[in-house]
Amino acid sequence: MPSTTAARVHDVRVLDREELAPGVILLSFHAPELASVTRPGQFLMAIPPGGERAATALGIYEAQGERASIMFFVCGPRTRELELLDAGDTLSVTGPLGNGFSIGGARDVAIVAGGTGIASVLLAAQACIAAGARTRLFYGARTAELLVDRERFEREGCEVICATDDGSFGFHGFVTQALAQVHERPELILACGPSPMLRATAKVAAELGVPAQLSLEETFACGVGGCWGCTVPLARTSAQAPSFPDGAHGGSDVVNARICKEGPVFLASELRW
């Protein structure tokens, strides 16, 4: 998971705004420089037009040619403000940030996404397919209408397996239960979504004996490693662990890593949450 240096603040022009489902907005903008350097699993910080709030961490959904996009679920003051943006408006974003997924040579990849996590896995799916890997998307949501942009992943060439909590579409239950029932074992699991889903994914991956990379979410402030507000306990032996003295805290083998800087993608096997 190589580290970022290409991050810049970009003033971008909104090209298109689409409401994919009630309260789910897809905003694409003209950002050639950002698009050209973004790697799968990276995110950006969207600067609030009105100030007085921290920037909002959002996955980079699409990045192709002149165009990049974000997809967000309106849930609080910042996304409510971003919701007001429309084609022609300008927005400032800092990115790309964080270390993304690495597909390596995997020939069969299972991508697990839940809720807002879907916004952080499209680039990864495209990369897998481009590398000729079989790519299955295990996609979970509360209900059918929140399985946004599902067809997009099919068009890209994914096998899409859906699960809904209320059974209104696909598998009735959690997406990780669907994953646990796969017949052909994938070589690699990539996941992004709420932490209960990620914990379950880690468990299933361990049972299947498949390595998993998890993209974590936490409340961010700076998004660039400056405030240590977004940490997760990590094995001190992890290559991603920040440097910390040996034997500290009675030789504790755990250290808190910054999700925004050392992550957001971590190896499930190295998390100590």
Partner: protein, 319 residues
């Protein structure tokens, strides 16, 4: 004209090319922002506070957004002074701005121990003494809340270094001016006013505090009126320079602090809103002064503060 405007500031021996410091704990060591901010355009970075022993910090969540502000409870996560000296400090040499170490502790001894080791390094140009972190059990705060303890810590740090010592005060007290006087008498070269205001938020779905540490420190525009008043009152009580901070996001905000009596300002939370803010404020200050035909930022310090004790410090170094 705009180019010739003097924005330099002096805190004891520390000379700043610009009156803008980046708040401790908000800006890492500067490196984290280097790829999109020209650090040569800021006065200096106050490093994340360091303690004698390594600290894992508080459980998450460590951050909560609040109206026009945020709560944080990081809990001083840091590798401890020995490891810090070996692995981190040497990197600071490359910063194109001033680097100010921040010292935190749980006893007068701790403060003196960490301060001495940190001050001994050339990469560190000055020290800030954080006696006001609200997020480490109650001990942390009590230093800044007790005039005697404040004096003891400041004296101990003063005794181990000749470099500029900035003492960071807490707003969570009945009379901040009294604490400020103690700090000055104990040998502080400058005062940082203010640290965060204690607060908390509750998760109304889960029926528990939203921060892993239960309580946290409130920062951002929400606390600006509290910070401006604190600077205004401290500036009437002491003659040493003040680094004003608390919710500074625009040049107008910054000007409120200078006019109240601050010699320099510190920008923390605003960097989370837009990392370009510190440079914008410097440009804005130049334009503001130029438009009024004022040559030096020094000439407007305390101008909205009748009975501004602090004024006399400028006689010496005009122009």
């Amino acid at each position: 004209m705009v180019e010739t405007i003097d924005l330099t500031a002096k805190l004891g021996k520390l000379e700043l090319a610009f009156p803008t410091l980046m708040g401790s704990g908000c800006y890492g060591s500067g490196e984290e922002f280097e790829s999109f901010v020209d650090l040569a355009q800021i006065g200096g970075v106050v490093l994340k506070s360091v303690t004698r022993q390594p600290r894992l910090g508080n459980p998450t969540p460590r951050l909560v957004q609040t109206p026009a502000g945020m709560l944080n409870a990081i809990g001083l996560q840091n590798p401890g002074i020995e490891h810090y000296l070996l692995n981190d400090v040497k990197k600071f040499a490359s910063r194109p701005c001033k680097v100010i170490g921040s010292v935190a502790g749980f006893s007068v001894d701790d403060y003196a121990y960490v301060a001495e080791k940190l001050a001994a390094r050339d990469e560190i140009h000055a020290l800030e003494v954080n006696i006001s972190c609200p997020n480490v059990a109650s001990e942390g705060e009590t230093f800044a809340c007790d005039p005697k303890l404040t004096a003891n810590v400041v004296r101990a740090v003063r005794n181990v270094t000749d470099k500029t010592v900035i003492v960071k005060l807490s707003p969570n007290v009945t009379d901040i001016a009294a604490i400020a006087r103690e700090a000055q008498n104990a040998g502080a070269d400058a005062l940082a006013v203010i640290n965060t205001v204690r607060g908390m938020a509750i998760d109304v779905n889960a029926w528990r505090p939203r921060l892993g540490n239960v309580t946290g420190g409130l920062s951002g525009p929400a606390i600006r009126p509290v910070a401006v008043l604190a600077v205004y009152e401290v500036a009437r009580a002491v003659t040493i320079p003040i680094v004003g901070q608390g919710g500074i996001e625009t040049v107008q905000d910054a000007l409120e602090f200078f006019l109240a009596g601050a010699t320099a300002i510190s920008i923390g939370t605003a960097n989370f809103t837009d990392p370009r803010i510190p440079v914008r404020i410097v440009e804005g200050l130049r334009e503001y002064l130029a438009a009024r035909g004022v040559q030096s930022l020094r000439d407007i310090i305390g101008k909205a503060n009748v009975g501004f004790a602090n004024a006399n410090q400028y006689e010496g170094d005009q122009g």
